[in-house]
Point group: C2
Chain length 316, copies 2
């Protein structure tokens, strides 16, 4: 499969067009954490992004690419997590209708956030396949444009804006580490770095309990996971036919981390940086700690991808 990857000019233009809708999130460092990790770490803090995660970058870019006719039909996606909020926010800000397919048992705070942005929720079964079928059905009935949470080149190009900011706001980076679930973020980061900082090595962190990206990367073909169980609930989805080729080509290594390692990394970030990262958001840092010998003394960027947590269900 051949991708029409965007080059510097296109990615810069996309990042510029996103600016009115998103935050340029801060890059933070901590002397204490640098000591623990024995490296100079630049944390890209996407919990401070609109809707609490990086997802709004891709959602907004995908919507900005739509024709007027498409916008009139509205947009639709299936997500129980951060992409749902991001797409609902995006639709609200651009004045178009959004429909989100969510599982019946979705957390009230996530449901309320989506409703708060004025999107319509349609509830479906608890299996991903239920939601995909329901999504397809409604799309066919209404003509709404389906936007996939990760396996969509416009979503990916939107996420590259995160890499561009990071490169501009850090020192020269030896490596960058991002979490991988469906692969949208790491693909966008990879494209951004290959274009604007090509000597930076690109790594991904993944929960060992949902290690489809690791296994796909090692075997050379997509091996999806079925219904994985991990605290990093944003990383349960599998790679797709758009994200996998980018990852295969541009990522140096995928590191898996255990549930305990994720919680430990999350705790360090909360305690030392005094910021809220969700478990998925701590996975890249967990991968760094686990492999610190590799990164000793280097300048490393770590993407903290989001901060939407249920405070009543913390792992501490």
């Amino acid at each position: 499969m051949i991708h029409d990857f965007a080059g510097k000019e296109t990615l810069n233009k996309i990042a510029d067009n996103l600016k009115p809708y998103i935050h340029r999130t801060p890059v933070l460092s901590s002397e204490q954490i640098n000591k623990i990790a024995d490296a100079h770490i630049f944390f890209k803090c996407e919990m401070f992004q609109k809707t609490g995660s990086f997802k709004v970058r891709g959602a907004m870019n995908a919507v900005l690419q739509l024709s007027d006719e498409q916008k009139e039909k509205g947009i639709i996606t299936h997500s129980s997590g951060n992409f749902a909020q991001a797409l609902a926010y995006t639709a609200n800000k651009t004045g178009i209708k959004a429909t989100i397919i969510m599982p019946h048992g979705v957390v009230a705070s996530k449901r309320d956030a989506v409703l708060g942005y004025g999107a319509e929720i349609i509830y479906s079964g608890n299996q991903p396949l239920d939601r995909e079928n329901k999504c397809e059905e409604i799309k066919n009935n209404t003509g709404a444009v389906f936007i996939h949470p990760s396996n969509d080149i416009n979503v990916i190009h939107g996420h590259s804006s995160c890499a561009i900011e990071l490169i501009n706001d850090s020192e020269k980076l030896d490596a960058v580490i991002a979490p991988v679930g469906g692969g949208g973020l790491i693909s966008g980061i990879a494209l951004g770095f290959k274009n604007f900082s090509k000597d930076t090595a690109i790594f991904a962190g993944e929960p060992a309990n949902a290690d489809d990206a690791f296994r796909s990367f090692k075997s050379g073909k997509i091996i999806p996971v079925n219904n994985p169980n991990t605290i990093a609930d944003g990383l349960k989805t599998s790679l797709g036919n758009v994200t996998f080729p980018i990852i295969k080509e541009m990522v140096t290594e995928i590191f898996t981390v255990t549930e305990e390692e994720i919680i430990f990394a999350m705790k360090i970030i909360w305690e030392r940086l005094k910021i809220i990262t969700e478990p998925s958001g701590a996975v890249a840092f967990a991968a760094l700690i686990k492999n610190k010998e590799l990164f000793k003394g280097k300048n490393i960027a770590v993407i903290l991808s989001g901060g939407n947590v249920d405070l009543n269900k913390l792992p501490f």
Copy 2:
């Protein structure tokens, strides 16, 4: 009692001298929180300060005022909380010896932070009076200089640097709200605002379960609390003869808040701002929410005073 309050020039000089040792902490706002509170709020984020709270501002200024002879004797204080860490850090950075009197049952993370900065800990009883007596005894034996965590004019002047940053980094402020325990922070904030933004009204928030400042303020004389019980453990101490006259003269009103109101405010800050505030740090915001009719549509600064929490003992 007549105080030798510092004026603009002195406070500016103190703030300048502190710069190499402290962070200029960010001032954050949130559209969502502004909607909830129906005001434009500027959060001064002291959880990002060195050692995780504002206390280092005052501790460092107190040490910078010492003569070489005094520095040689070392410094001593009694604190089970943020001032202990702040003074230990201060001593470490200025190369002097610090002794901290702590209760036997002090939380391991706080003990370790103090030891990590190279300070000596001497354990004493669990009552404040035990610690004060032990402190007096060691001071008399060693000649170490005692620095009180709040009731010390140099500590207070150091805290004024927080007000100066806040005034420079916000829009014109109608009011500022800070938490009150021993009164060091609110006194420093009050002096800073009276000098640099005299039309800003100054308010304090206090736990109803430790409302000595409220009662002292209302009655016109210091009424200490004895062993109060509140989740806002940084605000258990009572006003002193240095802080009370400043508060009496410069503060417009002291608002008390319940334990539930403190936890609710803390939760909003964690969920919406995605930052960690300790219960004491959320008290000023709790006071604002409780009295929002007073502040409707105004520009209000809220001091989030610290972020040192025990993640294993969260109130959610």
